[in-house]
């Protein structure tokens, strides 16, 4: 008799379900791609498609970290406000002649500091993350409003433009490369490391995870730091791309990030989800907004499609399951 291999994760039902979710999403993405190619003659153009990636790269960077946070049963609604604050900090530094590398450090530092602030409130003081981050969302953006009011920062150094406007090779933008690298890093972190396993464990049963020797508070602390850091990176890209900072920068982006994560198959209740799913969801949202944009559909109508997609993609499998019973 050979030794039986004891699986360290649920093989069949969970994985099959996840697989079918991602397949469904991929099918949606392909369908949108084909539809767009027929609907507009400008769609299948390498430069246009490259432009389309800017619709989602910044949001997706945050969505990777947010996915881990939501899988662990927490949420961070302050990410867009962190972008506003980090962008304001960078803008203030640019006014006194900071170099691009210093600006990047300031952006990352502000993101980390905001993440740490959320982390302390949630993990050390034990407050519910949804309320805390609604509060810090107003607080962080509020500081930007105090600093800037109705004015704007501009005048970023020339070298700073590369992060949001530079191309690495042909039509491949720096942002897209960063997006791809971060996708791989987060995919490995969540799916191939013990840290990733603890994230799932915490999301499925925090008490059980605690009794299994997982330092729940510390893992959550790290996840909030990561989300803050990713918001800082997104702030660098967005500020560099726009070339200016207003306190209303990235307004409402937190909801688009959460939509992307949920569309990617991450359970809002925690405990399940995958990075490949979030990556596909990013492409779906990017393709939808870009394709509709080519057809001169206004942005607000696109949001109907995104909203309907969010509810429909979750509701349809449930309605289907109810029919079969």
């Amino acid at each position: 008799m050979t030794a039986r291999i004891i699986p360290d994760r649920l093989q069949s039902p969970l994985q099959r379900r996840l697989k079918s979710w991602e397949t469904l999403l991929l099918a949606v993405a392909v369908a949108i791609f084909i539809f767009n190619s027929f609907a507009s003659e400008y769609f299948l153009n390498a430069w246009n498609l490259s432009d389309a990636t800017f619709n989602f790269t910044e949001k997706a960077m945050i969505a990777f970290a947010m996915a881990l946070l939501i899988i662990a049963g927490e949420i961070d609604l302050s990410v867009a406000a962190i972008i506003a604050l980090a962008s304001t900090a960078m803008g203030a530094a640019a006014q006194i002649g900071a170099s691009p590398s210093v600006l990047v450090l300031i952006g990352l530092g502000t993101g980390l500091a905001c993440g740490a602030f959320n982390a302390v409130l949630v993990t050390v003081m034990g407050l519910p993350s949804i309320v805390v981050t609604i509060g810090t969302m107003s607080l962080f953006r509020g500081i930007s409003y105090i600093v800037l009011g109705d004015t704007a920062y501009g005048g970023y150094p020339a070298g700073f433009a590369f992060f949001g406007q530079g191309y690495v090779w042909w039509v491949i933008s720096f942002e897209f490369v960063l997006f791809a690298i971060l996708a791989v890093i987060f995919g490995v972190l969540l799916h191939l490391t013990s840290f990733g396993r603890t994230v799932y464990a915490i999301g499925n049963n925090p008490t059980g995870a605690l009794f299994s020797g997982i330092r729940v508070a510390r893992v959550k602390f790290i996840l909030f730091l990561l989300t803050g850091l990713m918001s800082g990176i997104a702030a660098i890209c967005l500020t560099s791309r726009l070339g200016s900072t207003r306190p209303s920068i990235a307004f409402g982006m937190e909801l688009e990030v959460v939509t992307m994560v949920v569309l990617g198959g991450v359970s809002i209740l925690g405990g399940s989800g995958s990075i490949p799913g979030v990556v596909i969801a990013a492409f779906v949202m990017g393709l939808v907004t870009f394709g509709l944009g080519l057809l001169n559909v206004p942005g607000i109508v696109m949001s109907i499609v995104i909203g309907a997609l969010l509810i429909g993609v979750i509701a349809l499998p449930r309605i289907w399951a109810m029919r079969r019973l």
Binding site: V131, I134, S138, A308, I311
Partner: protein, 327 residues
Amino acid sequence: MIKTFLRAREAILAGAILLLLALIAIRFAGFIAPANLANVFNDTAPLIILAIGQMIVILTRCIDLSVAANLALTGMVVAMMNVAAPGLPLIFTITVAIGLGTTLGMFNGLMVWKLGIPPIVVTLGTMTIFRGTIFLLSDGKWVNSHEMSAAFKAFPRAMILGLPVLSWIAIATILLFTLILSRTTLGRAFFAVGGNPHAAVYAGINVGRTQFWAFTISGALAGLTGYLWVARYAVAYVDIALGFELDVVAACVIGGIAIAGGVGSVGGAVLGALFLGIIKNALPVVNISPFWQLSISGAAIIIAVALNARAARTKGRIILKRAEHPA
């Protein structure tokens, strides 16, 4: 015992509001004149009405992020209806507003009840759908003051016993839901479902249906506020009350409504709304830039939730806590 606890929490908030008023009065005594306080109350009335609806939803462990979009959509529909047929009686307009709001709320409720989709996902989706629908209906155009009929605009501002109708509607809402929450089976069910859903099931309460009614009430109040808002400001466009849902949630949190469900009171929600309303109205008066408002309400939310958590943490499972923070 819980009751005394709650009462104490509201007393703290009421004390904070009085302190705030005192501080403002030092800088500008005219602010606490009765006429001005009545103005502040009237200005805060929409927030009060929505906060009561949101409170009921939060009591049942849900959240409704679509209230502001519901308000804007209903407001646009009644405004366009008024432009198309200025002669329609006011009671019809109000019925349509409440009816449409209720329908939109019921849609949220059905998604949560029948399909078991998490409330935050449902209302995030319907929020964007409702907003987009306004654009589709209005084609991005504004309905301006001169297009609305005089009766349509006059109703919320009509004075009865020295207070505008808008204020009276807020007062009526406060009284009505204080009664419903304390004196009806459904009202008690909201608390039961949020406090302990499993026990609620054993007590014969249908959790999903109770949540459905919570969303329906929230939708109805949002619809009513939609008409009042559009009539009072005499303008309707796609972005009215944009982001207002967060103010509404903030008012609830400051008012001591536990986001985990089961704990809260109408009085708390009203005080939370008044707290935000006073800050908003006082900042220009005491010469602080209105740009401070956002961060002040953010700080207020964080302080309120920290205080509430501290108050709730007295009882509990000591074994778990030791394990969590080893000495």
